[in-house]
Structures are given as C-alpha cells and as structure tokens.
C-alpha cells in the first residue's frame, strides 16, 4: 500500500519531466526557427555595409513529432501513476486537490493529444503543455500530506455519483484548456498572419468543438452535483460558492456559444470570451482558496 503510493508518486515525477520536455519542444516547434541573414553591400565609396535581418521560419517537423511523442510518454506515466493510486486507495483518485489535479493533468494531456490528431495541428501544444506543466508544478507545491491516501468523510462517500461528477468536471476543465489554447492561437494567427500557424477558421472551429464537449460535461457536473447534494443534504441547490462559481463558468461558456451565431462576434470576440471563460475555470478550480463552503473539505 505504502509502496504503491510511493510508486504512483515516482510515476508522476516521470510524467512531469516528460511533459516539461514536451512543452519545450512544442514551444520551439510553434515559434519556428529564427533565421539570421547577413547581407553585404558594396557602397559607392568603396566600403562595404553589412545588414542583418532576422526572420522566422517554420521549425522542422521532427521537433514537433518529438514533442508529441514526449507528451504521449507523459500521459503513459500519468496513467500508471493514477492506476497505482487507484489500487492503493481502492477508488479513483478524485477527492483532494492533489488527486484532482493529477487526474486533470492526465485528462488534459489525453484531450489535447486527441485534438492534435483530429485536426492534424501541433502548435496548440505550445500553450496546452505549458499549462499542464504549470499544473504539475502546482501539485509539487501542495503539502506533502495530500499525497497520502485517506479514507473519505461520510458526505463524500457516494462513489458512482462522486466519480462521475468529479471526473466530468475534470474532463470539462481539460477541454476548456484546449479551447483556451485555440483562442490564444486564433488571436495570434488572426493578428499577425504567421504563415505556418493553422488557419484562423480551423482554430475557431477547434475551440468550438472543444467547448461542445466541455459545455455538456459542465452541464452534467452541475446536474450531478445537484443530485448528489439532494441525496446528501436534502437540497439540490444551496448557492454554495463552489456551485455558483461553476454556474458562473457555465454561463460564460453559454455567452460564448451565443456569440458564435452573431455577426461581427464570431472570431476575435468569441475568442476573447473564451479567454474570459477560461479565467472563470481557473477561478472555479482554485476558488477554494478564495471562498469557503461545502466543497472546502478534502484538504482544499
């Protein structure tokens, strides 16, 4: 049991390294190569003038492939980490911020890699992978007690409901992270016409597709959360801060979905709303630090 928990942590450490290396490669791939060109000009006076010119070129495909490979490695280690912890605890690791965040790291990696395959573009990784690495760093900074596997307080003991409710939340956040990355790249591609970035249309569509997974998942989170609250506390909606933060996030994505059918909004403005919406996701995720409430147990 102890050993399994430690093993799980080692796998997480390996995943962190793989994700960090992958993030570097993705960033290098997205930025492209800086090419310095030196031109020597002869002047009338018989002297020469040297001019330097820097330009960006697409990076080699090799580094992109390598980034993807490393990301898959990270995912594989993270799967192992979660598996060990599941065996050690006899349940999916979804109950404190350490476990929740580890599962998020895994799902964000998987969701991102799937989108990479579907759309055949890699540049998004330059945003999603650093986010994942940031999350790994956050996990490392959490108090070490959270790495232990603890029994659950009675209110958290409804396994199927809790599992679906929490894993849907993680899935939603993971897809929202991908949508966020698409929005950032959209704004960049739309503004600067970087030739090797995916077309704005593709990025707009990718962001939308991600939300079409995240929004229903988030709806399920709210619904199952209410069902659970109803079973545990006798009321399906208590205006608890974590609930309302999730509702806030859901509403902002609702705004986003509407703006897509508005002339003059689809595109840049929708992308900006996606950025705001992702800020709401981060707020909901880390909200426990800001407000108390029923979701505060489980060691933050």
């Amino acid at each position: 049991m102890e050993t399994l928990v430690r093993l799980s942590f080692y796998c997480f450490a390996a995943a962190t390294i793989a994700f960090a290396a992958s993030a570097l490669c993705y960033v290098a791939y997205a930025i492209g190569r800086v090419r310095l060109r030196q031109t020597t000009l002869a002047t009338n006076a018989g002297t020469t003038m040297v001019s330097h010119e820097a330009s960006l070129e697409p990076a080699s495909l090799g580094i992109g492939r390598f980034a993807t490979l490393l990301a898959w490695f990270g995912v594989a280690f993270q799967v192992a980490s979660i598996l060990f912890r599941t065996v050690a605890g006899g349940r999916l690791p979804l109950s404190n911020m350490y476990e929740f965040s580890s599962t998020f790291v895994l799902l964000a990696g998987v969701v991102y890699l799937l989108f990479e395959r579907w759309y055949g573009v890699r540049q998004l990784g330059a945003i999603v992978l650093p986010l994942i690495v940031g999350m790994c760093a956050y996990i490392w900074l959490l108090p070490a007690e959270l790495r232990e596997v603890n029994a659950l307080i009675p209110a958290l003991q409804n396994r199927p409901l809790m599992t679906i409710h929490v894993s849907m939340a993680i899935l939603a956040y993971a897809t929202f992270a991908v949508a966020f990355a698409a929005a950032v790249l959209f704004l960049v591609a739309n503004r600067w016409q970087v030739a090797w970035l995916p077309s704005p249309d593709l990025l707009d569509d990718l962001g939308y597709r991600a939300v079409t997974i995240g929004f229903p998942a988030m709806s399920l989170v709210l619904i199952l959360g209410s069902v659970w609250a109803y079973r545990a506390w006798g009321t399906y909606w208590q205006w608890d801060p974590k609930e309302t933060a999730a509702l806030f996030t859901w509403l902002i994505y609702g705004v986003y979905l509407h703006t897509r059918s508005l002339r003059g909004w689809r595109g840049s403005r929708s992308a900006v709303i996606l950025l705001v919406a992702f800020a709401a996701v981060v707020f909901t995720y880390f909200g426990n630090y800001v407000f108390g409430g029923l979701h505060a147990y489980g060691g933050v």
Binding site: N190, A232, W233, L247
Partner: protein
C-alpha cells in the same frame, strides 16, 4: 370630429402600439440581447460567489474608507435581490418568445427547404466540388441523389431552366433540439419556484433514540428513532453513522427503514436524510402531586451552558411548573478549555438546574445539583430522574415537488445539447447543368466559416466521387476573414 379623422387617429395609435409591441418582441428575440442578459446573470452570480470571500474584508481593513461599501456589499443577498429575480424573469420570457419566434422558420427549413440555388452561391462558397459526367443532367442528378442517399442524406431536386437544382441534408431534426434545451432552462427555474412554494424543508429535526416526534408540515406523520449506531476512525472522526426509524400515521407504523449520509429514506415524496447526531439524556420529571411533566429524551447540544460552555447541554421550559430546566453533560473532550468547566462532572453524571421562568414563581433563585445515572433528585417542587444516557440523531426532512420537473429538465438539457452539438444539421446545395459532352454538377455545403462542416463536405464529395467512379474537382476559396484571399482548385488523386 369627422368620422374620417377618428379612423385616422385609431390607425395612428394602432401603428404606434404595433411599433412598440414589435420593438419589445424583437428585443426578446434578439440573440444580442440574450448575450447581454446572460452576461448580466453571470456577473450577479459572480458577485454572489465572492460574498463568501474574505478578500473584500481585507480591502476594507487596509483602506477603511471602503468599509461602508464593503459592509453593504456583504449585506446584499444577491440571490434574493430584485435585479436577480428580474434578470431570471427576463431570460425566461426571452427564451419563451424566442422559441415562439424561431419555431416556424426552423420547421420550414426542416420540412420544406428551398431547393433552388444560384451559380453565384456555388462559385463563392468557401469549398465546393464539381463532378463531370457524360450523361444528361437528369440522369446524373439521379445518380448523385442515389449516392447521397446512401450516405443517409435526404435529397430534394427541382428543375429550373433546363438545370437540375439539388438540395441534400442530413440530421435535419437536430435543428429542433435547441427547443428542449432552452425550455429546460425555464423548467429548472419553474422547478425551483414549485419547490419553494409547495415543498418544505426541516433542517434540524432532532430526535432521541426511542423517542417519537411529530413531523408537522401537514404530513400527519410521526417519526420514531428505533436505533442509532456509528462507526469511528482511529483519529476519532466519524466514518459512518446510521439511524433506523419508523414512520407512523395515526399511531400505526407505515414504514421502517434506515438511513446513512448519502442514503436517505424516502416515504412518498418526503425524503429523510441523516445529518448529524449527538448525546441525549432520558429524563423523567414529576411535580409534588406526582404528576409526570416530562418523560422523554432531551437532545444535548443545541444549547450552551455558562457553567461549562464546551459541554453538551440542553434547556427546556416546563411551563406548568413555571421553571426552565437546564441539563449539562460531562465534558469528555480533553482538548476543550478545562478552566471554563465549573462543574467537573465525571462520566455517568449530569448536572440539572432549574430557574424561574417569571418573577412571581415559587423558586426565586436557580438551584442545581449533580445526579448519577439512575438516580433521582428533588429540585424545588420537582422530582427529576436521570433515567439513562441516550443518543439523538439529527435528520433533515424535505419534500420538494419541484424534483420531477428538475429531472425532466436535466434530461432535456443534456439530450438537447448532445443532439445539437454531435448531430449538426448538414446541408448541401448543388446545380447539375448541361455541357457539350454531358453534364456537370457543382455541389457546395452551407458551411460559412465552419471548418468542420467543410471537412465533412469534402469527405462526402470524395466518397460520392468514388461511388460514381468520378474524380471530383474540389474548389477552395479562402474565407473572407483571411487577408490573403486565394483561390485554388485541386484534383485529389483517388
């Protein structure tokens, strides 16, 4: 006033009323307005969320100038405020009006879509495909139709000026899914209103082991706690606890069962939840005439005694005797402040104290005494017997007639979203015209700035081409958003 001028004025005011109604109607139908309304709702929810935060308090502490504003902000109960109710009402009306407004158009697009199109539309489409064949347009349109149908598209054709116009679509009924989804939002609100108006919720229903309590709220039910049990962890925190109860109506048991946290007991539409538990004391109180004033268990916990604020304690008013009785239990938690404990009770003991309820009462001063389990004492006119220690359970009891609405709404919401998102209405238009060596068909999707829909169409075009044995020519127009608009035609190899 002549007859004509009266008529004129009625016409004018009718026109004005029409304009106003039309304006209001259009405001409610506007997605732009809906966006603003949802954004305002989101903002209010955010304000409510931040109410639990200590950040504004910290601001007020640092900058005392802001204190009055911060205090008022904390005092504002957003969710019960008028603006909040207003925006919810506005959204509900907007959804209803919007539904009524959109339904006929959407139905028209599903049942009787316009088939005819123009060469301009096909030429300017962001993606399109042309197919050439050596048979007349009619026959070729027939072949295309068969191929499209085999891909589960519905195909409609129409002849115009010797050309065949073609319309094909798939998953047309998914256009309707937006209605259950939006109506579900209203139903959830309606469920909340129904629950608040016709339901009840008892948050702290205290019931000691072996006792019977009346539920009230017009249910006619009594609840008896037959047994209470609990399991602790090593560190002393509760792992699980369970109450076994019997529900009685007119003195007859109607249902028995047990409940734990997360596993409530249901009777009809009334739900009983395990919420908490604590220590109780079984007491018997008699007056000097031998009349029994109290013979039941008293939950210790909701009351704090000055004699030891950390101990479980209770207080009841014995109106016939004109006194209030307080009971204090031993303080068994070593972590509590021992210096506040003026009683120093040992396990198995209780402290009883009575004090007068009014000024002109037989006992002028509070009197109290320590009693051991099973013993009786005399306090004033009363004989008190500490029968035994018991436990009490705290239940939550709720009846919420809004739940069925809520469940139905949840299904509609998720189902509606899933259909809208995962089975989007795909549409293709086309014209088959005559050429010197047969006919040519040009097809284009209705997919402006919709990358996925364009990919789906391109795949469809290739599939159809493969079926008919014709290599289609794909035409791509970069969408207008890109500054470097380019046109290219590619002939993919099959």
């Amino acid at each position: 006033m002549t007859h004509a001028s009266v008529q004129q004025r009625t016409l004018q005011s009718r026109a004005l009323a029409d304009i106003v109604v039309d304006r209001i109607w259009r405001f409610f139908c506007s997605v732009r307005a809906a966006v603003v309304e949802i954004a305002i709702l989101a903002l209010l929810v955010l304000v409510g969320t931040l109410r639990g935060s200590s950040v504004p308090q910290a601001i007020a502490d640092t900058f005392p100038v802001t204190a009055p504003i911060v205090d008022r902000w904390y005092a504002w109960d957003v969710y019960r405020s008028l603006p909040f109710a207003g925006i919810l009402t506005l959204l509900s009306v907007a959804i209803a009006v919007c539904t009524i407004n959109r339904a006929p158009g959407i139905w028209q697009a599903i049942a009787h879509p316009s088939v005819g199109t123009t060469h301009g539309f096909l030429r300017n489409a962001e993606t399109s495909a042309s197919f050439a064949a050596s048979i007349p347009p009619h026959a070729f349109a027939g072949q295309l139709g068969t191929a499209l149908r085999s891909k589960r598209y519905r195909v409609l054709t129409e002849e115009r000026n010797g050309e065949v116009h073609l319309y094909a679509d798939r998953w047309r009924f998914s256009r309707l899914a937006t209605f259950p989804f939006h109506l579900a939002l209203i139903m959830i609100l309606a469920g909340g209103i129904v629950g608040a108006a016709w339901g009840f919720r008892e948050n702290e229903f205290y019931i000691p082991e072996g006792s019977v309590r009346e539920l009230g709220h017009g249910t006619g039910l009594h609840v008896r706690l037959d047994d209470f049990s609990e399991v602790y962890r090593e560190d002393g925190t509760a792992l699980a606890y369970r109450s076994d109860i019997t529900l009685m109506r007119d003195g007859q048991p109607v249902q028995s069962g047990s409940m734990t946290v997360n596993n409530p007991l249901t009777f009809g539409d009334i739900v009983f939840y395990q919420s908490g538990f604590g220590q109780a004391v079984a007491l018997k109180i008699e007056d000097s005439a031998g009349q029994v004033l109290f013979d039941d268990a008293l939950p210790l916990g909701p009351f704090q005694s000055r004699l030891n604020p950390d101990s479980p304690a209770a207080r009841i008013d014995l109106l016939p005797a004109g006194v209030a009785l307080s009971v204090v239990a031993p303080d068994e938690n070593p972590a509590n402040a021992p210096e506040l404990d003026t009683l120093q009770l040992r396990p198995g003991q209780m402290f009883f104290m009575i004090r007068p309820l009014g000024a002109d009462r037989p006992i002028a001063e509070p009197i109290g005494a320590t009693v051991s389990q099973g013993d009786s004492i005399q306090l004033g006119d009363l004989t008190l017997t500490f029968v035994r220690e018991r436990r009490f359970s705290v239940l939550q009891v709720a009846r919420n007639p809004g739940i069925p609405l809520f469940i139905a709404a949840s299904v509609l919401l998720i189902g509606g979203l899933a259909i809208t998102f995962y089975f989007p209405h795909r549409r293709v238009r086309g014209i088959v015209s005559t050429t010197t060596d047969g006919s040519v068909a040009r097809l284009a999707p209705i997919a402006r700035r919709d990358w996925s829909a364009k990919r789906v169409f391109e795949r469809l075009a290739l599939d159809i081409g493969r079926q008919l044995g014709i290599g289609p020519e794909l035409h791509v127009n970069e969408p207008a958003s890109a500054l470097t608009g380019s046109r290219q035609s590619v002939r993919p190899s099959l």
